[in-house]
Protein backbone atom coordinates (compact mmCIF):
# COMPACT_ATOMS: atom_id res chain seq x y z
CA UNK A 1 0.00 0.00 0.00
CA UNK A 2 1.20 3.45 -0.93
CA UNK A 3 0.96 6.02 1.85
CA UNK A 4 0.53 9.69 1.03
CA UNK A 5 0.14 12.93 2.96
CA UNK A 6 -1.51 16.31 2.55
CA UNK A 7 -3.53 15.61 -0.54
CA UNK A 8 -5.81 18.39 -1.78
CA UNK A 9 -8.97 16.61 -2.92
CA UNK A 10 -11.57 18.24 -5.15
CA UNK A 11 -14.37 16.13 -3.69
CA UNK A 12 -14.82 14.10 -0.50
CA UNK A 13 -17.08 11.11 0.11
CA UNK A 14 -17.58 10.20 3.75
CA UNK A 15 -18.50 6.51 3.87
CA UNK A 16 -17.69 5.88 7.52
CA UNK A 17 -20.22 3.43 9.06
CA UNK A 18 -21.41 2.36 5.60
CA UNK A 19 -21.13 -1.29 4.73
CA UNK A 20 -19.93 -3.19 1.68
CA UNK A 21 -20.62 -2.63 -1.21
CA UNK A 22 -21.34 1.09 -0.63
CA UNK A 23 -17.56 1.77 -0.62
CA UNK A 24 -17.57 0.87 -4.33
CA UNK A 25 -21.02 2.04 -5.43
CA UNK A 26 -20.75 5.58 -4.10
CA UNK A 27 -17.28 6.39 -5.52
CA UNK A 28 -18.53 4.98 -8.84
CA UNK A 29 -21.44 7.44 -8.88
CA UNK A 30 -19.41 10.32 -7.58
CA UNK A 31 -16.51 10.06 -9.99
CA UNK A 32 -18.89 10.17 -12.95
CA UNK A 33 -19.72 13.76 -11.99
CA UNK A 34 -16.06 14.84 -11.69
CA UNK A 35 -13.62 16.18 -14.29
CA UNK A 36 -10.58 14.39 -15.62
CA UNK A 37 -7.57 14.99 -13.35
CA UNK A 38 -9.64 15.84 -10.26
CA UNK A 39 -8.97 14.02 -7.00
CA UNK A 40 -11.63 12.17 -5.00
CA UNK A 41 -11.08 11.52 -1.31
CA UNK A 42 -12.93 8.52 0.16
CA UNK A 43 -13.26 8.22 3.95
CA UNK A 44 -14.05 4.72 5.16
CA UNK A 45 -13.65 2.54 8.22
CA UNK A 46 -14.08 -0.67 6.20
CA UNK A 47 -10.85 -2.71 5.97
CA UNK A 48 -11.99 -4.39 2.76
CA UNK A 49 -11.80 -1.03 0.99
CA UNK A 50 -8.01 -1.11 1.22
CA UNK A 51 -7.95 -3.97 -1.29
CA UNK A 52 -11.14 -3.19 -3.17
CA UNK A 53 -10.58 0.48 -4.03
CA UNK A 54 -7.12 0.04 -5.63
CA UNK A 55 -8.44 -2.98 -7.54
CA UNK A 56 -11.51 -1.04 -8.63
CA UNK A 57 -9.30 1.86 -9.81
CA UNK A 58 -7.23 -0.50 -11.90
CA UNK A 59 -10.32 -2.06 -13.42
CA UNK A 60 -11.88 1.31 -14.26
CA UNK A 61 -8.66 2.94 -15.35
CA UNK A 62 -8.48 5.59 -12.59
CA UNK A 63 -5.25 6.33 -10.76
CA UNK A 64 -5.10 5.16 -7.14
CA UNK A 65 -2.90 7.80 -5.51
CA UNK A 66 -2.57 6.23 -2.06
CA UNK A 67 -3.96 6.34 1.45
CA UNK A 68 -3.58 8.10 4.74
CA UNK A 69 -4.60 6.60 8.07
CA UNK A 70 -6.64 8.74 10.43
CA UNK A 71 -7.69 8.12 14.00
CA UNK A 72 -11.15 6.91 13.07
CA UNK A 73 -10.96 6.10 9.35
CA UNK A 74 -8.84 5.55 6.28
CA UNK A 75 -8.56 8.26 3.62
CA UNK A 76 -8.15 6.88 0.11
CA UNK A 77 -7.27 9.13 -2.86
CA UNK A 78 -8.29 8.53 -6.45
CA UNK A 79 -7.45 10.68 -9.49
CA UNK A 80 -9.99 10.54 -12.29
CA UNK A 81 -8.07 9.45 -15.37
CA UNK A 82 -10.65 9.63 -18.13
Amino acid sequence: MKFVEKQAPDETLDLVCRMCPMHLLEPGDKIKCMKKGQILEVLTDYDGALDDIPAWCEKCGHEFIGMEEEDDCYKLYIRKAK
Binding site: R18, M19, P21, M22
Partner: protein, 389 residues
Protein backbone atom coordinates in the same frame (compact mmCIF):
# COMPACT_ATOMS: atom_id res chain seq x y z
CA UNK B 1 -74.84 11.27 17.21
CA UNK B 2 -72.38 13.86 16.03
CA UNK B 3 -68.75 12.70 15.88
CA UNK B 4 -65.94 15.22 16.32
CA UNK B 5 -62.39 13.95 15.94
CA UNK B 6 -59.76 16.29 17.31
CA UNK B 7 -56.84 13.98 18.08
CA UNK B 8 -54.88 14.45 14.87
CA UNK B 9 -51.56 14.31 16.73
CA UNK B 10 -52.38 10.66 17.48
CA UNK B 11 -53.59 9.66 14.03
CA UNK B 12 -55.03 11.10 10.85
CA UNK B 13 -56.99 9.55 8.01
CA UNK B 14 -54.95 8.90 4.86
CA UNK B 15 -55.91 11.47 2.22
CA UNK B 16 -57.87 10.05 -0.70
CA UNK B 17 -55.40 11.40 -3.29
CA UNK B 18 -52.61 9.75 -1.31
CA UNK B 19 -54.35 6.39 -1.06
CA UNK B 20 -55.12 6.39 -4.80
CA UNK B 21 -51.47 7.06 -5.56
CA UNK B 22 -50.43 4.18 -3.29
CA UNK B 23 -52.85 1.49 -4.47
CA UNK B 24 -51.05 0.36 -7.67
CA UNK B 25 -47.94 -0.38 -5.63
CA UNK B 26 -49.65 -3.13 -3.67
CA UNK B 27 -50.47 -5.29 -6.70
CA UNK B 28 -49.71 -4.22 -10.27
CA UNK B 29 -46.43 -2.50 -9.43
CA UNK B 30 -45.19 -4.91 -6.79
CA UNK B 31 -41.61 -5.33 -8.06
CA UNK B 32 -38.63 -5.24 -5.73
CA UNK B 33 -36.78 -1.94 -6.22
CA UNK B 34 -33.43 -3.76 -5.97
CA UNK B 35 -34.22 -6.09 -8.88
CA UNK B 36 -32.39 -5.49 -12.14
CA UNK B 37 -35.25 -6.24 -14.54
CA UNK B 38 -37.62 -3.55 -15.77
CA UNK B 39 -40.39 -3.80 -13.17
CA UNK B 40 -37.78 -3.43 -10.41
CA UNK B 41 -35.72 -0.62 -11.91
CA UNK B 42 -38.96 1.19 -12.59
CA UNK B 43 -39.87 1.05 -8.88
CA UNK B 44 -36.41 2.22 -7.88
CA UNK B 45 -37.08 5.30 -10.00
CA UNK B 46 -40.43 5.82 -8.27
CA UNK B 47 -38.73 5.78 -4.86
CA UNK B 48 -36.17 8.35 -5.97
CA UNK B 49 -38.99 10.63 -7.22
CA UNK B 50 -40.63 10.46 -3.80
CA UNK B 51 -37.32 11.24 -2.11
CA UNK B 52 -37.17 14.38 -4.21
CA UNK B 53 -40.71 15.40 -3.18
CA UNK B 54 -40.03 14.89 0.52
CA UNK B 55 -36.76 16.81 0.18
CA UNK B 56 -38.60 19.67 -1.58
CA UNK B 57 -41.05 20.01 1.26
CA UNK B 58 -38.28 20.72 3.77
CA UNK B 59 -35.74 22.48 1.57
CA UNK B 60 -33.31 19.56 1.46
CA UNK B 61 -31.63 17.59 -1.33
CA UNK B 62 -32.95 14.15 -2.23
CA UNK B 63 -29.72 12.41 -1.22
CA UNK B 64 -30.15 13.83 2.28
CA UNK B 65 -33.36 11.85 2.95
CA UNK B 66 -33.55 8.32 4.32
CA UNK B 67 -36.97 6.67 4.59
CA UNK B 68 -37.82 4.99 7.89
CA UNK B 69 -40.79 3.10 9.33
CA UNK B 70 -41.89 5.95 11.60
CA UNK B 71 -40.95 9.15 13.34
CA UNK B 72 -39.74 7.04 16.25
CA UNK B 73 -37.36 5.14 13.99
CA UNK B 74 -36.12 8.39 12.46
CA UNK B 75 -35.44 9.69 15.98
CA UNK B 76 -33.64 6.48 16.91
CA UNK B 77 -31.56 6.57 13.75
CA UNK B 78 -30.60 10.17 14.43
CA UNK B 79 -29.69 9.68 18.08
CA UNK B 80 -28.18 6.20 18.03
CA UNK B 81 -26.79 6.46 14.52
CA UNK B 82 -25.02 9.76 15.11
CA UNK B 83 -23.79 8.92 18.60
CA UNK B 84 -22.39 5.54 17.52
CA UNK B 85 -20.75 7.03 14.44
CA UNK B 86 -19.07 9.69 16.58
CA UNK B 87 -18.14 7.59 19.59
CA UNK B 88 -14.51 8.64 19.37
CA UNK B 89 -15.43 12.29 19.74
CA UNK B 90 -16.97 11.99 23.18
CA UNK B 91 -19.61 10.54 25.47
CA UNK B 92 -21.98 13.38 26.25
CA UNK B 93 -25.51 13.86 24.89
CA UNK B 94 -27.93 16.74 25.53
CA UNK B 95 -31.70 16.41 25.11
CA UNK B 96 -34.54 18.54 26.44
CA UNK B 97 -36.80 17.28 29.23
CA UNK B 98 -39.87 17.38 26.96
CA UNK B 99 -38.62 15.16 24.12
CA UNK B 100 -40.65 12.29 22.76
CA UNK B 101 -39.84 8.94 24.35
CA UNK B 102 -38.09 7.78 21.19
CA UNK B 103 -35.45 10.48 21.78
CA UNK B 104 -35.42 10.32 25.59
CA UNK B 105 -35.09 6.56 25.74
CA UNK B 106 -32.56 6.38 22.91
CA UNK B 107 -30.40 8.80 24.94
CA UNK B 108 -31.00 6.85 28.15
CA UNK B 109 -29.92 3.69 26.33
CA UNK B 110 -26.41 5.15 26.01
CA UNK B 111 -26.50 6.29 29.63
CA UNK B 112 -27.44 2.84 30.91
CA UNK B 113 -25.54 0.56 28.55
CA UNK B 114 -22.49 2.47 27.43
CA UNK B 115 -21.26 4.89 30.06
CA UNK B 116 -22.48 8.01 28.35
CA UNK B 117 -23.58 11.08 30.24
CA UNK B 118 -26.93 12.56 29.29
CA UNK B 119 -27.86 16.11 30.24
CA UNK B 120 -31.57 16.85 30.30
CA UNK B 121 -32.04 20.48 29.35
CA UNK B 122 -34.91 22.06 31.30
CA UNK B 123 -37.64 24.23 29.79
CA UNK B 124 -39.51 27.27 31.16
CA UNK B 125 -43.22 27.48 31.96
CA UNK B 126 -44.07 27.83 28.27
CA UNK B 127 -41.97 24.77 27.46
CA UNK B 128 -39.20 26.80 25.81
CA UNK B 129 -35.55 25.81 25.99
CA UNK B 130 -33.17 28.60 27.01
CA UNK B 131 -30.42 29.08 24.35
CA UNK B 132 -28.08 30.59 26.95
CA UNK B 133 -28.43 27.48 29.08
CA UNK B 134 -27.70 25.23 26.12
CA UNK B 135 -24.57 27.24 25.28
CA UNK B 136 -23.33 26.69 28.85
CA UNK B 137 -23.94 22.94 28.75
CA UNK B 138 -22.32 22.10 25.41
CA UNK B 139 -18.76 20.93 25.99
CA UNK B 140 -15.80 19.27 24.30
CA UNK B 141 -17.17 15.72 24.66
CA UNK B 142 -20.70 16.57 23.51
CA UNK B 143 -21.52 14.50 20.44
CA UNK B 144 -25.18 15.32 19.92
CA UNK B 145 -27.87 17.78 20.95
CA UNK B 146 -31.47 16.80 20.22
CA UNK B 147 -34.28 19.29 20.82
CA UNK B 148 -37.73 18.86 19.36
CA UNK B 149 -39.23 21.38 16.96
CA UNK B 150 -42.83 21.24 18.17
CA UNK B 151 -44.25 19.51 21.23
CA UNK B 152 -47.39 17.44 20.71
CA UNK B 153 -48.57 17.76 24.28
CA UNK B 154 -48.35 21.51 24.84
CA UNK B 155 -48.00 22.76 21.26
CA UNK B 156 -44.92 24.90 21.92
CA UNK B 157 -42.50 25.49 19.04
CA UNK B 158 -38.85 25.74 20.06
CA UNK B 159 -36.47 28.41 18.69
CA UNK B 160 -34.55 25.76 16.75
CA UNK B 161 -32.44 27.94 14.43
CA UNK B 162 -30.85 29.76 17.36
CA UNK B 163 -30.23 26.55 19.28
CA UNK B 164 -28.76 24.85 16.22
CA UNK B 165 -26.47 27.83 15.56
CA UNK B 166 -24.96 27.46 19.03
CA UNK B 167 -24.14 23.82 18.28
CA UNK B 168 -22.85 24.56 14.80
CA UNK B 169 -20.40 27.12 16.24
CA UNK B 170 -19.09 24.50 18.64
CA UNK B 171 -18.95 21.70 16.08
CA UNK B 172 -21.66 19.63 17.76
CA UNK B 173 -24.31 17.75 15.76
CA UNK B 174 -27.85 19.03 16.18
CA UNK B 175 -30.98 16.96 15.62
CA UNK B 176 -34.58 18.09 15.83
CA UNK B 177 -37.68 15.90 16.09
CA UNK B 178 -40.05 17.67 13.70
CA UNK B 179 -42.74 14.99 13.78
CA UNK B 180 -45.26 17.49 15.15
CA UNK B 181 -44.35 20.34 12.80
CA UNK B 182 -43.74 18.94 9.29
CA UNK B 183 -47.19 19.02 7.71
CA UNK B 184 -48.47 21.64 10.14
CA UNK B 185 -46.15 24.62 9.62
CA UNK B 186 -43.49 25.48 7.03
CA UNK B 187 -40.25 23.67 7.87
CA UNK B 188 -36.97 24.35 6.09
CA UNK B 189 -33.81 22.56 7.14
CA UNK B 190 -31.58 25.39 5.88
CA UNK B 191 -33.47 28.03 7.86
CA UNK B 192 -33.50 25.81 10.93
CA UNK B 193 -29.78 25.18 10.43
CA UNK B 194 -30.03 21.59 11.67
CA UNK B 195 -27.88 18.55 10.86
CA UNK B 196 -30.73 16.08 11.21
CA UNK B 197 -34.53 16.29 11.28
CA UNK B 198 -37.18 13.59 11.81
CA UNK B 199 -40.60 13.60 10.21
CA UNK B 200 -43.53 11.20 9.90
CA UNK B 201 -46.38 10.51 7.47
CA UNK B 202 -49.67 11.01 9.33
CA UNK B 203 -49.55 14.82 9.84
CA UNK B 204 -49.24 15.11 6.05
CA UNK B 205 -52.12 12.76 5.30
CA UNK B 206 -49.80 9.83 4.57
CA UNK B 207 -50.30 6.49 6.32
CA UNK B 208 -48.76 5.22 9.52
CA UNK B 209 -45.65 3.11 9.05
CA UNK B 210 -43.67 5.62 7.03
CA UNK B 211 -41.33 8.37 8.18
CA UNK B 212 -38.07 9.93 7.12
CA UNK B 213 -34.87 11.34 8.49
CA UNK B 214 -33.14 14.31 6.92
CA UNK B 215 -29.38 14.31 7.47
CA UNK B 216 -27.05 16.96 6.12
CA UNK B 217 -24.69 15.54 3.45
CA UNK B 218 -21.73 13.75 4.92
CA UNK B 219 -23.29 13.41 8.38
CA UNK B 220 -22.01 10.10 9.70
CA UNK B 221 -24.75 7.72 10.78
CA UNK B 222 -24.41 4.15 11.96
CA UNK B 223 -27.31 2.19 10.43
CA UNK B 224 -29.77 0.69 12.92
CA UNK B 225 -30.85 -1.94 10.42
CA UNK B 226 -27.89 -3.53 8.71
CA UNK B 227 -28.67 -5.15 5.43
CA UNK B 228 -28.23 -4.50 1.77
CA UNK B 229 -27.80 -1.37 -0.29
CA UNK B 230 -31.33 -0.07 0.22
CA UNK B 231 -31.38 3.61 1.20
CA UNK B 232 -27.72 3.79 0.13
CA UNK B 233 -26.76 1.35 2.84
CA UNK B 234 -28.23 3.50 5.57
CA UNK B 235 -31.22 1.28 6.24
CA UNK B 236 -31.42 -2.33 5.14
CA UNK B 237 -34.65 -4.11 4.30
CA UNK B 238 -36.82 -4.04 1.19
CA UNK B 239 -38.41 -0.62 0.95
CA UNK B 240 -42.02 0.04 2.01
CA UNK B 241 -42.87 1.15 -1.52
CA UNK B 242 -46.58 1.98 -1.02
CA UNK B 243 -45.73 3.92 2.15
CA UNK B 244 -42.94 5.83 0.42
CA UNK B 245 -45.27 6.67 -2.48
CA UNK B 246 -47.87 7.84 0.04
CA UNK B 247 -45.38 10.05 1.84
CA UNK B 248 -44.14 11.50 -1.46
CA UNK B 249 -47.64 12.33 -2.66
CA UNK B 250 -48.61 13.77 0.73
CA UNK B 251 -45.45 15.90 0.76
CA UNK B 252 -46.30 17.25 -2.70
CA UNK B 253 -49.87 18.12 -1.66
CA UNK B 254 -48.69 19.65 1.60
CA UNK B 255 -46.20 21.91 -0.15
CA UNK B 256 -49.04 23.45 -2.16
CA UNK B 257 -51.75 23.51 0.47
CA UNK B 258 -49.92 24.25 3.70
CA UNK B 259 -50.62 28.02 3.92
CA UNK B 260 -54.33 27.39 3.50
CA UNK B 261 -54.40 24.52 6.00
CA UNK B 262 -52.42 26.48 8.58
CA UNK B 263 -54.80 29.42 8.33
CA UNK B 264 -57.87 27.18 8.53
CA UNK B 265 -56.78 25.23 11.61
CA UNK B 266 -55.46 28.32 13.37
CA UNK B 267 -58.81 30.11 12.98
CA UNK B 268 -60.67 27.11 14.34
CA UNK B 269 -58.18 26.65 17.17
CA UNK B 270 -58.46 30.32 18.18
CA UNK B 271 -62.25 29.99 18.25
CA UNK B 272 -61.97 26.81 20.35
CA UNK B 273 -59.46 28.31 22.79
CA UNK B 274 -61.30 31.58 23.40
CA UNK B 275 -64.63 29.73 23.65
CA UNK B 276 -63.28 27.28 26.22
CA UNK B 277 -61.50 29.95 28.25
CA UNK B 278 -64.74 32.00 28.35
CA UNK B 279 -66.95 29.10 29.37
CA UNK B 280 -64.88 27.20 31.92
CA UNK B 281 -63.45 28.64 35.12
CA UNK B 282 -60.21 27.53 36.76
CA UNK B 283 -58.62 26.33 33.56
CA UNK B 284 -55.06 26.83 32.32
CA UNK B 285 -54.05 27.12 28.66
CA UNK B 286 -50.77 25.19 28.58
CA UNK B 287 -47.77 25.78 26.34
CA UNK B 288 -46.78 28.98 24.59
CA UNK B 289 -49.74 31.24 23.73
CA UNK B 290 -48.28 32.36 20.36
CA UNK B 291 -45.27 30.22 19.43
CA UNK B 292 -47.26 27.07 19.04
CA UNK B 293 -48.60 24.60 16.50
CA UNK B 294 -51.49 26.31 14.66
CA UNK B 295 -54.05 23.56 15.29
CA UNK B 296 -53.03 22.69 18.84
CA UNK B 297 -55.08 23.57 21.93
CA UNK B 298 -54.05 22.16 25.31
CA UNK B 299 -55.49 22.82 28.73
CA UNK B 300 -55.39 21.71 32.33
CA UNK B 301 -58.76 21.79 34.04
CA UNK B 302 -58.74 21.98 37.84
CA UNK B 303 -60.36 19.33 40.08
CA UNK B 304 -60.98 16.68 37.42
CA UNK B 305 -58.94 13.90 35.90
CA UNK B 306 -58.07 13.54 32.22
CA UNK B 307 -59.08 9.97 31.55
CA UNK B 308 -62.52 10.46 33.06
CA UNK B 309 -62.87 13.63 30.98
CA UNK B 310 -61.91 11.83 27.76
CA UNK B 311 -64.30 8.96 28.39
CA UNK B 312 -67.20 11.27 29.13
CA UNK B 313 -66.43 13.27 25.98
CA UNK B 314 -66.23 9.97 24.12
CA UNK B 315 -69.82 9.30 25.17
CA UNK B 316 -70.71 12.62 23.53
CA UNK B 317 -68.91 11.64 20.32
CA UNK B 318 -65.88 13.88 20.95
CA UNK B 319 -62.42 12.36 20.54
CA UNK B 320 -59.53 14.21 22.15
CA UNK B 321 -56.39 13.32 24.08
CA UNK B 322 -54.87 13.84 27.49
CA UNK B 323 -51.33 14.25 28.68
CA UNK B 324 -52.29 13.03 32.09
CA UNK B 325 -51.01 9.58 31.75
CA UNK B 326 -53.61 7.51 33.53
CA UNK B 327 -54.80 6.93 29.98
CA UNK B 328 -51.34 6.06 28.75
CA UNK B 329 -51.11 3.51 31.56
CA UNK B 330 -47.43 4.26 32.12
CA UNK B 331 -47.20 7.11 34.56
CA UNK B 332 -49.73 9.02 36.54
CA UNK B 333 -48.57 12.48 35.57
CA UNK B 334 -47.28 13.71 32.25
CA UNK B 335 -43.53 14.41 32.42
CA UNK B 336 -44.02 17.29 29.97
CA UNK B 337 -46.52 19.03 32.24
CA UNK B 338 -44.22 18.45 35.21
CA UNK B 339 -41.34 19.93 33.18
CA UNK B 340 -43.28 23.16 32.53
CA UNK B 341 -44.10 23.45 36.22
CA UNK B 342 -47.80 22.56 36.27
CA UNK B 343 -48.67 21.40 39.82
CA UNK B 344 -49.28 17.65 39.92
CA UNK B 345 -52.96 17.86 40.91
CA UNK B 346 -53.69 20.32 38.08
CA UNK B 347 -51.68 18.27 35.57
CA UNK B 348 -54.16 15.41 36.12
CA UNK B 349 -56.85 17.38 34.35
CA UNK B 350 -55.01 17.70 31.05
CA UNK B 351 -56.85 17.73 27.74
CA UNK B 352 -55.41 18.21 24.26
CA UNK B 353 -57.28 18.99 21.04
CA UNK B 354 -55.33 18.72 17.78
CA UNK B 355 -57.13 20.01 14.70
CA UNK B 356 -56.62 19.31 11.02
CA UNK B 357 -57.90 20.37 7.63
CA UNK B 358 -61.13 18.35 7.91
CA UNK B 359 -62.35 20.00 11.12
CA UNK B 360 -65.11 22.63 10.87
CA UNK B 361 -66.52 25.58 12.82
CA UNK B 362 -69.73 23.68 13.73
CA UNK B 363 -67.51 20.96 15.23
CA UNK B 364 -65.76 23.55 17.36
CA UNK B 365 -69.15 24.87 18.45
CA UNK B 366 -70.28 21.36 19.33
CA UNK B 367 -67.29 21.01 21.66
CA UNK B 368 -68.03 24.42 23.16
CA UNK B 369 -71.55 23.20 23.86
CA UNK B 370 -70.61 19.81 25.35
CA UNK B 371 -67.32 20.34 27.15
CA UNK B 372 -68.52 22.80 29.84
CA UNK B 373 -71.36 20.44 30.83
CA UNK B 374 -69.01 17.45 31.05
CA UNK B 375 -66.55 19.44 33.15
CA UNK B 376 -69.32 20.63 35.42
CA UNK B 377 -70.62 17.10 35.88
CA UNK B 378 -67.20 15.65 36.76
CA UNK B 379 -66.57 18.53 39.11
CA UNK B 380 -69.86 17.79 40.84
CA UNK B 381 -68.34 14.41 41.83
CA UNK B 382 -64.99 15.83 42.90
CA UNK B 383 -63.88 16.39 46.49
CA UNK B 384 -61.38 18.94 45.15
CA UNK B 385 -63.95 21.21 43.57
CA UNK B 386 -64.62 24.31 45.67
CA UNK B 387 -68.40 23.86 45.82
CA UNK B 388 -67.94 20.42 47.37
CA UNK B 389 -65.45 21.39 50.04
Amino acid sequence: MQIVYMDHAASTPVRREVLEEMLPFFQERFGNPSAIYDIGIDIKGVIEDQREKVANLIGAEAKEIVFTSSGAEANNLAVKGAVLANRKKGNHIIVSTIEHHSVLNAARFFERMMDYEVTFLPVNNYGLVDPQRLAELVREETVLVSIMHGNNEIGTIEPISGLAAICRDKGVLFHTDAVATVGNIPVNVKDLNVDMLSLTGPPLGAPKGIGALYFRSNTRLMPLIHGGIQEMGRRGGTENVPGIVGLGKAAELTLNELPEKTKHVKNLKDRLVSGIMDRIEEITYTGHPENRLPGHASFCIAAIEGEALLLMLNQAGIYANTGSACASKALKISPVLVAIGVPAEIAQGSIVFTLDRDNTAPEVDYILEKLPAVVERLRSFSPLWKKNI
